[in-house]
């Protein structure tokens, strides 16, 4: 594998393209009377790039919130690499190697870009209070590694020159890249991107497409929610289409594009 940024990704070494990584079965989430996700079943395999699309309110972000244990499912199972996600807390999901970005950027605004990425290394390092106070050799070495890896990850997404700027003072596009860098620094096996191209101009979204390919070639499986169809069609090998919390179809970009149910969901049924 090539990219230094993700050197610690456990799964990357032996990536088997056809190996099941995420197995969702019968997933259901109700908010009171509202059925946000209904009996959803789908699989993601190691090394894939999968897009999740659907009209607003289809339940895409709810799905991410369920997978990352931000919400508890009403029913169904989600198994990630043999672990049941339904029983974990959010930080344990990240430790397992499943990490997300946010649709509305949620960086640590008053910290520098570099520190944002360093926070991502938290779950792969272990200096505690004692280490912080004494700064023995082990802690100093770990700090050095954290800094190096954080810089490499920033370079990987192409914003190393912004390392010392506060996250909130970065331009919008760079903030989106920083979110991805922060997520990558947790050493994930699968990354869930929530509308990474939203608000980017066409040049920036072309670069994003390249970046996502680079992430995948480093052995990280990518699932992305995206409305920008150029990005989706350019990247995804498989597309899952949600509407009203249900999967109405899945397949290759070519198949999905011609599917009558998809066209109906987006444009409304012909009368």
């Amino acid at each position: 594998m090539s990219g230094p940024a993700l050197a610690t990704t456990a799964a990357a070494a032996g990536a088997q393209p056809d190996h099941l990584l995420l197995d969702v079965r019968g997933l259901t989430k109700r908010f009171g009377g509202l059925q946000a996700i209904c009996e959803l079943s789908y699989q993601v395999f190691r090394g894939e790039i999968v897009a999740v699309i659907g009209p607003n309110g289809a339940g895409k972000t709810t799905l991410y919130n369920l997978l990352t244990a931000t919400y508890r499912p009403t029913g169904g199972t989600m198994v990630f690499d043999g672990h049941d996600l339904g029983r974990l807390s959010p930080h344990e999901v990240t430790e397992l190697g499943l990490v997300r970005t946010f649709q509305n950027i949620r960086l640590f605004p008053n910290m520098t870009a570099l520190d944002n990425v360093k926070v991502g290394r938290y779950c792969r390092t272990d200096a505690g209070l004692f280490g912080a106070l004494t700064r023995l050799r082990g802690t100093r070495r770990e700090e050095r590694e954290i800094e190096e890896q954080a810089m490499e990850t920033l370079a990987f997404v192409g914003i190393a020159h912004r390392a010392d700027e506060l996250a909130k003072s970065l331009p919008y596009g760079d903030q989106k890249l920083l979110e991805i860098a922060r997520a990558l620094s947790t050493g994930p096996r699968m990354i869930l991107l929530d509308e990474p191209a939203a608000g980017l101009n066409s040049g920036e979204s072309a670069e994003l497409v390249e970046l996502v390919r680079k992430i995948r070639s480093d052995g990280v499986t990518v699932v992305l929610i995206e409305h920008d169809m150029k990005v989706v069609m350019g990247l995804a090998e498989r597309i899952v289409v949600l509407d009203h919390g249900m999967m109405i179809c899945q397949g290759t970009p070519a198949e999905v594009r011609c599917d009558q149910r998809v066209i109906d969901a987006y444009l409304g049924k012909a009368v």
Binding site: H91, F108, M111, C123, E143, E148, A163
Partner: protein, 346 residues
């Protein structure tokens, strides 16, 4: 220090490294910081020489104790963003731990160096006990719970006559002595307190610039995102709480040894508020700010003594004025200062 990106073999590393060290050089401003540090340390070390009276040296000791309290509260509020309004309870627990173990009250006279770690440990344990059920609460709710805790501790001390001697307090605490050297005079005690302030400043700087410190910052900035990035926020908040409590406990130990007397009166809600004022006035999350804020709020009432009746009126007015004209505090931390200047540049 270390050169980041040393091990990078790929192309972009060269310019990256250069840009990075350049940025660091600009941000450092080393000479100025060193000068101000030396001046400050020299001034602090010579206080007993240029301050005339024992009374004023005692004021300086009190200032040191408040600096310790502010530094500790800064971990909880400034670093981690937890609104703790019952902070004074840990100060009280530290002070009473000393009173129990070094006074005729129970007839115990343990060596000071044995009590010292206990005065950090016992409040830290109370911090964990309080934090475990309550730190799931956010912002204002946590403030109310901690406020209640502070009052409960004070009321317990006030009413548990047999244990704490109630409102009469515990008197005749042992004079602090380390290996036979007695810290009886205010001057000697001042130097002891100063050493502890220095140690705490080093400790808090190291904490702030560590894996744990960054994680605290992340929780303060966005707790949900912090969780999603793999932080066990509950455990981290507990550690912030316990560390802050340990700082307060040490301050309590210093206070009790200095006064040679403890009573519940010294640990009212008003004290928590004053400590809060100190770190807000100085600049939240800033170490020099906490020190400056404490100095100002301890020294100001002394300076205002001549105007007797109007003393606290002026004190309050000054607080209002500073906070309206300089909301970021007198000596804001680096990031907050940059935040403001960067906004101004645009």
């Amino acid at each position: 220090m270390n050169v980041p990106g040393e091990s990078v073999v790929s192309d972009p590393a060269g310019p990256v490294r250069r840009a990075w060290s350049e940025a660091k050089g600009i941000a450092a401003l080393r000479p100025m910081r060193m000068t101000s540090l030396v001046v400050f340390a020299a001034a602090a070390a010579t206080v007993p020489l240029w301050v005339g009276s024992n009374y004023l040296i005692r004021v300086a000791v009190v200032a040191c104790i408040y600096i310790m309290l502010s530094l500790g509260l800064n971990i909880v509020v400034g670093f981690c963003g937890l609104l703790d309004l019952g902070y004074v309870a840990f100060y009280a627990i530290g002070a009473y731990t000393y009173a129990f173990l070094a006074s005729p009250h129970f007839g115990l006279h343990l060596p000071w160096l044995v009590i010292l770690p206990l005065c950090a440990l016992v409040p830290a344990i109370f911090g964990i006990l309080l934090g475990t059920p309550t730190l799931r609460l956010r912002g204002d709710y946590l403030a109310i719970v901690t406020l209640g805790f502070g009052e409960i501790v004070r009321l317990f001390i006030n009413n548990l006559d047999r244990l704490t001697n109630g409102p009469k307090g515990i008197a005749n605490l042992d004079t602090v002595s380390i290996a036979g050297f007695k810290f009886g005079s205010p001057t000697r005690y001042y130097y002891l307190a100063l050493v502890f302030v220095a140690l705490m400043v080093v400790a808090i700087r190291r904490l702030g610039d560590s894996r744990i410190g960054r994680a605290w910052g992340a929780i303060r900035e966005d707790e949900l995102a912090a969780k999603a990035m793999g932080l066990n926020t509950h455990s981290l908040k507990l550690r912030a709480f316990a560390t802050g409590a340990a700082f307060a406990g040490i301050a309590g130990l210093m206070f009790a040894g200095f006064q040679s007397f403890v009573s519940p009166e010294s640990f009212t809600f008003g004290e928590s508020v004053i400590i809060f004022c100190m770190i807000t006035l100085g600049g939240m999350g800033s170490i020099p700010g906490a020190i400056l804020g404490s100095l100002v709020l301890v020294i100001l009432p002394e300076v205002l003594r001549p105007v007797a009746d109007y003393r606290y009126l002026l004190y309050g007015l000054l607080l209002i004025l500073v906070m309206t004209m300089r909301p970021q505090g007198l000596w804001p931390n680096k990031q907050r200062r940059r935040e403001l200047t960067e906004r101004a540049e645009r």
